[in-house]
């Protein structure tokens, strides 16, 4: 039996990555070896595949096609490490262009839905008009629709209007698919802003537009950031929407498309494939590591994306 000497209460947690609670408070059983071993095993299983990819991307073609990446880890000084794979994938083939294309697609496809959704969330939360409840219900209800439902009719519209293969076309497609979630998240936040704030602004002669740009947006930064990261990663990592609406031609193909085509054409050239894969993962990983806190918050709220 364990004896409890001190019953300090755990503070509420804001994110799972901070630990406000004092570790190992008296009375708590220490983690046994079985617990430690299980955690270690899971951590290994979740890191080794990516580690293997990263390590292999620095090995030359002979090594990477004849020995496992772990042999280089075990003999680091006998291995010839090289940056050549990265030089090759970025200068030959379309990977560099694909990297730029991914930026061209992702940045507006993140900003546009946030803008539309912030305006809409403010309108639904603070302006009175006919049809408000119905329109809001419809918009959020669309969360249930998988985007596969949109593909065939939209493709026909796009082919009719020449929007296939254009950046504007894919910005709007990602905007449409991301909006219900964006409005859902931002409405939750903006509707909770204090009422007095708007009243005093209106008394001072501000129009709703000014109130929105000068008050609502700056105050909503946490919610905007949560959704922005969510949408950024979603668009950057998207494959299906880009494949259907943007296509595989080299002047517009994004990283996921280019990477998939390398898998198809040079699937056994592991030294190049691993380098290309890592190029495609660098930016989302940096965004993720830098803004983990906001991401977790968005994840908790955004777990319903359809």
């Amino acid at each position: 039996m364990t004896v409890v000497a001190d019953t300090e209460t755990a503070a509420q947690v804001e994110t799972p990555f901070k630990k406000p609670r004092k570790r190992r408070k008296d009375g708590t059983e220490r983690a046994g070896w079985l617990v430690r071993l299980t955690v270690l095993l899971i951590v290994l299983m979740w890191t080794l595949p990516t580690m293997g990819l990263l390590i292999n991307s620095f090995r030359d073609s002979v090594d990477s096609s004849s020995t496992g990446w772990w042999t280089s880890v075990l003999n680091p000084f006998a291995t010839e490490w090289t940056m050549g794979n990265y030089a090759t994938v970025l200068t030959t083939g379309g990977l560099f262009d694909a990297l730029i294309n991914s930026l061209i697609v992702t940045i507006p496809a993140t900003v546009i839905p946030i803008t539309l959704a912030a305006f809409a969330a403010y309108g639904f939360a603070w302006l009175r008009f006919r049809g408000r409840g119905l329109l809001f219900g419809v918009l959020v209800g669309l969360l249930v629709v998988p985007l596969q439902l949109s593909l065939v009719p939209l493709l026909q519209v796009y082919q009719g209007t020449g929007l296939t293969g254009s950046f504007v076309g894919i910005w709007l497609a990602h905007t449409g698919f991301g909006l219900p979630l964006a409005v859902f998240i931002l409405y939750g936040f903006i509707s909770q802003l204090p009422k007095d704030l708007f009243e005093s602004a209106f008394i001072d002669g501000a129009s709703p537009f000014t109130a929105f740009t000068k008050l609502v947006l700056p105050l909503s930064v946490p919610a905007l950031a949560s959704f922005a990261i969510f949408q950024f990663l979603w668009v950057w990592n998207d494959f299906l929407v880009a494949l259907v609406f943007l296509g595989t031609s080299s002047d517009v193909a994004v990283l996921t498309i280019e990477l998939a085509s390398i898998v198809g054409s040079r699937g056994e050239a592991y030294h190049l494939l691993t380098a290309a894969a890592f190029v495609s993962m660098v930016i989302p990983l940096v965004v993720f590591l830098a803004l983990q806190r906001y991401f977790v918050r968005g994840l908790l709220a955004g777990s319903v994306k359809g």
Partner: protein, 378 residues
């Protein structure tokens, strides 16, 4: 601002119309310039690519704001009553219009097409009859079902075990970050990572995929001890039926981080009075976990399970990139893509989409209702 005389209104309308015209002209010329093949000739390809990128990003980002600004300046130039009446719609209608075009119209269109895009003389249910009598579609549905049964359950169980255990470990946040990291990786990227893990070399050659290396190594002992007659490396992505499970493992690997984060937050939210009281009564950590923690986080467990289930039903990238749907691994979403692009059979493609919708809706309803109850997000 609100009370405007007619003399003031004239110039204001002209000014606001000017704003609108300039906005549209800028967008029009900017986009035309971008798609103009001559405009960037003579520059080094890298430079022209970067310039195009900058223009495109600025156009996309500034354009949306310019449109709202232009719309607002028109509305504010109108008589005060009209302004008040119309303004809310300036805020909400753009969003409604976009989802109308991108979600409502196509969803209706998909459902209609699945019933009407049939050969002459056939009934409305032709596509569905075709689908449910086709052995391939049945196989896809079976695979979807296998995914749905296995992937969410395993992801939730591992996520829960890890969240529960890591809570008591010193390097908690570091360990979590490692498990969480795959969430930032695309399905395509994960497919490449795992293709490398599953890499196969013929027997006798050195294995470069870590899974086959481990398998051959362990198998060697088993052969020595007489448990196995011989050990061969396994082509994990080609060998039926093991390949479907190998693909499911990729999905689990991607989703456990999500499960872990949500469940870990939920576990930390369990009132410590409850666990302290149980501890005083002599409960072991394991008893506390199963009798107190798990019942307290039922809601979160449901959210995580349903969310992963929906992602699993729509799985496409992982299969498309690794096996292309060959070797009996295809699912409904992959089939839909192939009907659409390879066979140009929009009737079958839309039927596959409707099947997905029908499968997803009940799970989604449970999910949203549960989220509402928990007050997350809304």
């Amino acid at each position: 601002m609100q009370a405007m005389t007619s003399e003031q209104m004239g110039p204001k309308i002209i000014r606001s119309l000017l704003v609108v015209v300039i906005t549209f002209a800028a967008l029009w010329f900017g986009l035309g310039f971008l798609s103009d093949p001559v405009a960037f000739q003579g520059m080094p390809p890298t430079v022209s690519k970067l310039i195009q990128a900058a223009i495109a990003i600025i156009l996309g980002v500034a354009g949306i704001w310019a449109l709202f600004y232009a719309g607002n300046s028109i509305i504010e130039a109108l008589p005060a009553r009209a302004t008040d009446l119309l303004r809310p719609y300036l805020f909400v209608l753009p969003a409604i219009a976009v989802v109308g075009l991108y979600l409502i119209y196509p969803t209706v269109g998909t459902v209609v097409t699945s019933f009407t895009d049939v050969p002459e003389g056939e009934g409305f249910f032709y596509n569905y009859e075709q689908a449910f009598t086709s052995p391939e579609v049945i196989l896809n549905l079976r695979n979807n079902l296998i995914w749905l049964i296995i992937a969410p359950a395993i992801a939730v169980v591992i996520g829960l075990i890890f969240a529960g255990m890591v809570d008591r470990i010193r390097l908690e946040s570091l360990a979590k970050s490692f498990v969480f990291m795959p969430l930032a990786i695309s399905f395509v990227g994960a497919a490449v990572i795992w293709k490398f893990v599953y890499a196969w070399k013929p027997e006798g050659q050195e294995q470069i995929g870590i899974l086959n290396a481990i398998w051959v190594w362990i198998g060697g002992f088993l052969v020595d001890w007489g448990i196995l007659a011989e050990v061969e490396p396994i082509a994990w992505l080609q060998a039926i039926p093991i390949n479907t499970f190998a693909l499911i493992a990729i999905m689990v690997w991607l989703q456990v981080g999500f499960a872990m984060v949500v469940l870990s937050a939920a576990i930390k939210g369990v009132p410590s009075e409850l666990t302290e009281a149980a501890r005083i009564d002599g409960a072991s950590e394991r008893q506390i976990f199963f009798r107190i923690t798990i019942p307290s986080i039922k809601g979160s467990l449901l959210v995580v399970y349903t969310t992963i289930a929906i992602a699993v039903l729509k799985v496409f990238d992982i299969i498309f990139v690794t096996t292309g749907g060959n070797f009996d691994t295809s699912v409904v979403a992959v089939r839909m893509y192939q009907e659409m692009f390879r066979f140009r059979n929009f009737g079958q493609a839309t039927t596959m989409a409707v099947i997905l919708l029908v499968a997803v809706i009940p799970i989604m309803v449970v999910n949203i209702r549960n989220l509402r109850r928990q007050g997350i997000g809304a």
